[in-house]
């Protein structure tokens, strides 16, 4: 009732955005009131970053209506968005490190006479003072400042440019605790001045403290709009993860076998607590955690792509012909930059780690049997392709990922380390990847599955551990975890939500 009396500052209806085949936003709604702090939450890949990019003018939507101050809002680029009063404070801060604080604050709004710059130090200083950072020297080089101070410079720039709406993308993810408090104070001041803030965060307890209302995105859709800040954390989590599970996950029966890989006292990055766990044949161990929580470092160090700080691993004796190749296989989360050689053929990518199998007499490759093996594995994975010699880059994302997985199959790897194996693939391909991995586990492989999508982890894994800032929780069967417990551990490193 009350909402209809105030004109919203910003109103989005049915916004859609696709990247190729991937639908990043299907139906996003968002409404921001003037002087409001509005939290935007959702899992990785839910579409938050896409939405921010659209609001900030970096992307233009495929469909949907956008209104800002009651007028249609279609900025042609970040510059126009800024001129209209919408500013983004980025995760990777967008400052010129070689320029001083004043120059960064005025960047793009410099004043000049006859081509000569006019200093705006007084206004820059006022802005900083107003934010409670009067001690920051406008002449200091930004490159010499800490992360928190740089953030303040970005916010000051937004204010300096008369922003009405400031979008903050995970502003606390790299801040120590006391700087987080300072940032909250700044947000309170912005609110008092009538500036609206859209606040994106994984940390639900922060959201509860700082936000007036909360909107939940899930799979590119608005799952819950404008929840009051008092909404219990478990309801927010439910909105984030809630969708019918079951039908896309395979029901392949698996027996847990012998322990294949034992990891003891493993420290994959400096300062993290050591991790201990075992991987058994037939097991799919899920690894949950936010981006940057250390999942990738753990997998990469186990595979040997980076040096571990401490710890030891032990592999059980090889079984049959499995011993011939490298016994651990790794699937990279970054398919384009690392996982695949995109301009090489499907065939070359599939067999790159297991070429030794196809070496015939005189050291020459038996291309015929290689092609047969690639055809067989591609058929069993239902890869849609025309020809084994076609460049892998010409396939869709899901089919590319299946080719990357086929490498583990063809390489006869026993331990599969999968880093975000379903990132950037559509639902159909996801289901096939679940089936394939479950089948591999049923055939006696051991799988370590790192992912950020909770329903997926609950659906595919039989046990689960959560990473938080480099440390790993105890491994428990999935039945022993609730989703909110996982989220709580991922955000705070503790079992109980705050």
């Amino acid at each position: 009732m009350a909402r209809e009396l105030t004109v919203p500052l910003l109103r989005l209806r049915g916004v859609r955005k696709a990247f190729g085949a991937a639908q990043a936003l299907r139906n996003a709604d968002l409404e921001i009131a003037p002087g409001e702090v509005h939290a935007l939450v959702g899992e990785n890949g839910a579409g938050k970053s896409t939405l921010i990019s659209i609001l900030g003018g970096a992307l233009s939507p495929d469909a949907g209506s956008l209104e800002f101050l009651g007028a249609p809002y279609r900025p042609a680029g970040p510059r126009e968005a800024r001129n209209l009063g919408v500013a983004v404070v980025h995760q990777e801060l967008a400052l010129a490190p070689h320029l001083d604080v004043e120059a960064n604050i005025c960047l793009g709004r410099e004043r000049s006479r006859l081509g000569f710059l006019i200093g705006q130090e007084r206004r820059a200083r006022e802005t900083l003072e107003w934010l409670g950072y009067g001690h920051l020297d406008p002449r200091a080089r930004v490159g010499g400042l800490g992360v928190a101070e740089r953030q303040i410079v970005e916010i000051a720039r937004a204010l300096f440019q008369d922003a009405r709406l400031i979008l903050m993308d995970e502003p606390t993810s790299s801040l120590p605790a006391h700087d987080v408090e300072n940032l909250f104070a700044v947000i309170a001041r912005l609110k008092a001045r009538g500036v609206s803030v859209v606040y994106i965060s994984h940390f639900l307890e922060e959201v509860a403290r700082v936000a007036d209302r909360i909107t939940v995105l899930r799979d590119g859709e608005t799952a819950a709009a404008g929840l009051p800040a008092s909404t219990p954390a478990r309801d927010i989590l439910a909105a984030m993860v809630g969708r019918p599970l079951g039908e896309i996950f395979p029901s392949i029966h698996r027996n847990l076998g012998d322990t294949l890989l034992s990891v003891r006292g493993w420290v994959s990055r400096p300062g993290a607590a050591p991790a201990d766990f075992h991987l058994k044949r037939g097991q799919i161990l899920g690894l949950a955690g936010l981006v940057g929580s250390g999942r990738s470092s753990l997998l990469r160090s186990l595979y040997g792509l980076r040096q571990a700080e401490a710890g030891e691993t032990e592999m059980a004796e090889a079984r049959g012909r499995e011993g011939s190749g490298k016994r651990i296989g790794f699937l990279s989360e970054d398919r384009k930059e690392e996982g695949l050689a995109l301009n090489l053929s499907v065939r070359a990518n599939a067999t790159l780690a297991g070429l030794a199998r196809f070496v015939g007499p005189a050291g020459l490759l038996r291309l015929g049997s290689e092609a047969r093996a690639v055809r067989d594995v591609c058929a069993s994975l239902r890869v849609r392709y025309l020809d084994p010699d076609q460049p892998v880059g010409s396939l869709s994302g899901g089919n590319q990922q299946k080719v990357a997985l086929s490498r583990l199959l063809l390489g006869d790897c026993e331990v599969w380390l999968l880093d975000e194996p379903t990132r950037g693939v559509d639902v159909g391909a996801k289901a096939e990847i679940y089936r394939l991995v479950a089948q591999a586990a049923a055939d006696g492989k051991a799988v370590l599955w790192s992912g950020s999508h909770l329903p997926e982890l609950f659906g595919i894994c039989d046990s689960l551990a959560v990473m938080h800032r480099g440390a790993m929780s105890p491994v428990r069967p999935v039945q022993g975890w609730s989703e909110s417990e996982v989220m709580a551990w991922a955000t705070s490193g503790k079992a109980d939500p705050a």
């Binding site: 990279s332 996982g339 695949l340 995109l342 090489l344 070359a348 780690a353 490759l365």
Partner: protein
């Protein structure tokens, strides 16, 4: 588009040939002149075979020209070891020695770029000078004459024995091109060369010993530069420390015309061979038709850019 790119060097060669056959004198398409053109493409061609490995793997080697000169001087020096009474084994040993000198030079390039992670362009820009200086030092800044051996006959357009029909150097080039084609397509090493150039991170992920492979690739490139040096020696029958100055650019151009991509991951032995022949045809044709040298420079330049343009188009699809 990809298919067109693979055919382009052959079409280019055919077009250049037909053009000069129309413009030039009748002698241009006589058998003897064709044999001459093949002989003239040998040195660039052999160098281009090594460069094909390097460029497919995403590297570059600017030092091959200097390495060829160093190899000719080293070969001439070794042939002089026993004065004028050359024992039968000496030409073989000296030839092998020259190839070894090339391989060592290439290994230096590989070590510096793979282990010390200096960009190969910079490394080989440096070794280009160093090897050239080494060649001049070894030659005492003059050409080094050597006693006559069968090595001198490697580049005879009418070879002895006559049943060879083509100069032995041409057969060396053709055999080498076939071997390189087989290595690239049918061996694990060849597959790794493509993988390294296409995406080094993927190669590392797949357990390929990236540094060792790179060193091997540069060593092979260097060894083939050494072989090109042996043939260069046969051409002039003396060790010339100023030989092959600037030839690295002809060699790189041959690979690029033949479908090699400086971004790595692409390139073929047959293409590089055709690229080398195309350059020889252009030079020979320009001389034959009495076209001034500057036209030749312009034409070769245009063809290189044209090859690159096709490359871009092919990648856009």
């Amino acid at each position: 588009m990809k298919k067109l790119r693979a055919l382009a060097p052959y079409l280019g060669l055919a077009a250049a040939f037909l053009l000069f056959a129309a413009l030039g004198p009748a002698e241009f398409h006589g058998a003897y002149n064709l044999k001459t053109i093949l002989t003239q493409s040998v040195i660039v061609g052999v160098g281009a075979m090594g460069m094909t490995f390097v460029i497919i793997s995403g590297g570059i080697d600017l030092s091959v020209g200097s390495l060829i000169a160093l190899a000719t001087v080293a070969l001439a020096r070794m042939l002089n070891l026993r004065g004028d009474a050359v024992p039968a084994w000496l030409p073989w040993a000296a030839g092998a020695g020259a190839i070894a000198v090339g391989a060592m030079g290439g290994l230096c390039n590989g070590f510096l770029s793979a282990r010390l992670r200096i960009a190969p362009f910079i490394v080989t820009l440096g070794t280009m000078q160093i090897f050239r200086g080494g060649a001049k030092w070894l030659a005492r800044e003059q050409t080094v004459t050597a006693p006559a051996t069968w090595l001198n006959g490697l580049m005879e357009v009418d070879p002895v024995p006559a049943w060879l029909w083509l100069a032995p150097g041409v057969w060396v080039l053709l055999g080498l091109a076939a071997a390189v084609a087989v290595i690239l397509r049918y061996t694990v090493f060849g597959r790794h060369v493509y993988a390294l150039g296409s995406n080094e991170a993927t190669a590392r992920l797949c357990g390929i010993p990236v540094e060792r492979r790179r060193m091997l690739i540069y060593a092979v490139g260097g060894a083939l530069a050494g072989l090109a040096g042996v043939l260069q020696f046969a051409n002039l029958t003396l060790g010339d420390p100023t030989a092959a100055e600037g030839m690295e650019l002809d060699i790189i151009a041959a690979v690029v015309i033949g479908g090699g991509s400086l971004r790595g991951g692409e390139g073929r032995a047959a293409g590089s061979l055709i690229g080398a022949m195309l350059m020889a045809v252009l030079r020979n044709g320009c001389n034959m038709a009495g076209i001034p040298n500057y036209m030749q420079n312009i034409v070769v330049g245009a063809i290189i850019i044209g090859a690159m343009g096709l490359d871009r188009l092919g990648n856009k699809r």
